[in-house]
């Protein structure tokens, strides 16, 4: 999508961090912005910042884990703006616990927000966007943990969810290739946001917010980017219609290492293959 001015952007998790920076970056390009967040007061504050740029803003309270809440978001956006061109499924949370310490409700919380939240956004917005016949672009926020499975111990549910978001985004690109809808998936390393403090928004149905404890063996990101910078990477990907937003090239070595292990396993198997004449299939 080249011309952004006058078009409509929607950002979930828009009240802080990457979401807030996306909302402001879209506003500076002349887009009107719907800021959706579970923290309504914070969303309203970002809406005022967006209005100060000189465009229209709408703050909406949404729990992306709840499909009916996302359906309400879609209604509110179309009631106000009659359109949605860029939809950023960005809301995300994380727990810091080893797999052996994760409870069923920890898993539910992270997957419901980080993975099913994106699924809800896609399924609820896509039919309206396709029906409009206008260009559209989904921006799904994953993480470098969505392509490198063990970037640090202690984020297993986040890693699973973000891998799911990457797979979903790749599949969307294939399934929607014959439409006006494009897709980008954002895979940053460290960004200066409050995600480590996401327990503050843990919904009551997932149990009480928990204190962050250090995880044995965890590593902290060494190159932390400002979210404003990441938003510029996202804008460039929207303009160039690029699927992946990889903002942290220093993380390429662990990706290469992971594939080397996988390829060695595949090569080792070739000698054991019981099939006489395996065809590519």
């Amino acid at each position: 999508m080249q011309d952004l001015a006058g078009r409509i952007a929607v950002v979930t998790g828009g009240a802080s961090g990457i979401g807030r920076s996306l909302a402001l970056a879209f506003a500076r390009e002349g887009m009107h912005v719907a800021i959706s967040d579970i923290d309504h007061a914070a969303a309203q504050a970002v809406a005022s910042e967006v209005e100060d740029v000189g465009v229209k803003a709408l703050a909406i309270q949404t729990d992306v884990a709840d499909p009916s809440s996302v359906a309400d978001l879609v209604s509110a956006v179309y009631d106000e703006f009659s359109n949605a061109h860029i939809v950023c499924n960005n809301a995300g949370v994380v727990t810091f616990k080893l797999a052996q310490d994760m409870t069923a409700v920890d898993w539910d919380w992270v997957l419901d927000v980080d993975l099913y939240g994106v699924v809800h956004g896609v399924l609820e917005f896509l039919p309206r966007m396709l029906a409009s016949g206008e260009p559209g672009h989904f921006v799904n926020t994953a993480s470098i943990a969505g392509v490198i499975p063990a970037v640090t111990p202690g984020i297993i549910a986040y890693t699973a969810a973000k891998h799911g978001v990457v797979g979903l985004s790749e599949a969307m690109q294939l399934d929607l290739a014959d439409t006006e809808i494009r897709v980008s998936v954002v895979c940053p390393g460290g960004v200066a946001t409050r995600i480590a403090d996401s327990q503050r928004n843990r919904q009551a149905r997932y149990g009480a917010p928990e204190k962050r404890e250090p995880v044995p063996g965890e590593s902290t990101p060494h190159a932390v980017m400002e979210p404003e910078q990441l938003a510029q990477h996202v804008l460039a990907a929207i303009r160039d219609e690029r699927l992946y937003v990889f903002s942290h090239p220093d993380l390429q070595p662990p990706l290469e290492a992971r594939y080397e292990s996988l390829f060695s396993a595949i090569d080792a198997f070739a000698a054991l293959d019981p099939r006489k004449d395996p065809k590519n299939s």
């Binding site: 797999a99 099913y116 896509l126 699973a160 969307m172 895979c187 990477h233 292990s261």
Partner: protein, 278 residues
């Protein structure tokens, strides 16, 4: 886990296909096997097959999407055989639709079995494995579709990518407690996964059939597919050696390399953008 003889294994989705193949290979290696499937007839048939070959096996009906049923499976298995040493989270289903034609129930069904089923296995079996202190190993079934995408199977792709990431991460976390983890990445195995829609629950839309053209195309190449028992033998080998990956389709390596190359290009594009931003 060097020695499988005398150990106890639980295999989900074991009433047919890869799950049945894993059960046969584990039983031949001397394990006692809990054959779990949503289809009780399938589970009973495999358990009887093992028993008549002189192995120890029981059948348990389980819908892996339901945490309480997985808890009951764990309880039943422990009551029968004592500590569980091997868990194969294998049950999986498949739905073939362009994403623009999918509804939330399609997604719930595929995700609840393929991903939540694995998570339920972990949350219900890991505490027991940690407590008994004996050797333990977990095998999760993903797919080659957990490594690179395909059209018209978005929910399957999302679920299998998630299982891939989850399992590789699990291996890192469980290194600290000496529980082994292997990721099974099957492609083109002679199974009934195309008929998985037979088990879709009424509450999530009821049974469905794979589109004929797709099922026919897959059937045509199945002759070159793996025998599920051969997959089972490779699983046993991976448990013995605590191997990270079980990937039996070298002919698909090029597709994985192609995806890696797109990721490399994405890093390069990120470097270019960063240079322009300064």
């Amino acid at each position: 886990m060097k020695d499988i003889a005398g150990k106890t294994a639980v295999v989900t989705g074991a009433g047919s296909g890869i799950g049945r193949g894993i059960c046969i290979a584990l039983a031949r290696a001397g394990a006692k096997v809990v054959v779990s499937d949503v289809d009780p007839v399938g589970a009973e048939t495999v358990a009887s097959e093992l028993a008549s070959a002189g192995h120890e096996a029981i059948a348990v009906q389980t819908d892996v999407a339901d945490k309480t049923q997985v808890a009951a499976l764990a309880e039943h298995a422990v009551a029968q055989y004592g500590p569980i040493h091997i868990l194969c989270n294998n049950a999986g289903v498949f739905s073939f639709k362009n994403i623009r034609e999918t509804n939330l129930d399609d997604w719930k069904w595929v995700m609840s079995v393929n991903l939540q089923g694995v998570i339920n296995g972990l949350t219900q079996f890991l505490p027991g494995m940690l407590a008994h202190g004996e050797e333990a190993h977990i095998v999760n079934t993903s797919s080659t579709a957990g490594l690179y995408p395909g059209a018209n199977i978005a929910s399957y792709i999302a679920s299998k990518y998630a299982v891939t990431g989850l399992t590789e991460h699990l291996r890192t976390d469980l290194e600290q407690v000496s529980i082994g983890v292997s990721l099974l990445l099957p492609g083109n195995v002679r199974t009934r996964i195309m008929a998985a829609g037979r088990n879709r629950p009424e509450a999530l839309g009821g049974p469905e059939q794979a589109p004929e053209a797709f099922a026919a195309a897959r059937a045509a190449r199945t002759d070159q597919g793996h025998d599920p028992v051969d997959v089972g033998e490779m699983v046993v080998r991976a448990i013995r050696g605590n191997e990270a990956y079980i990937m039996m389709n070298p002919e698909r390596k090029g597709l994985i390399e192609a995806r890696l190359n797109t990721l490399r290009e994405a890093f390069d594009a990120g470097r270019r953008v960063q240079a322009e931003l300064g």
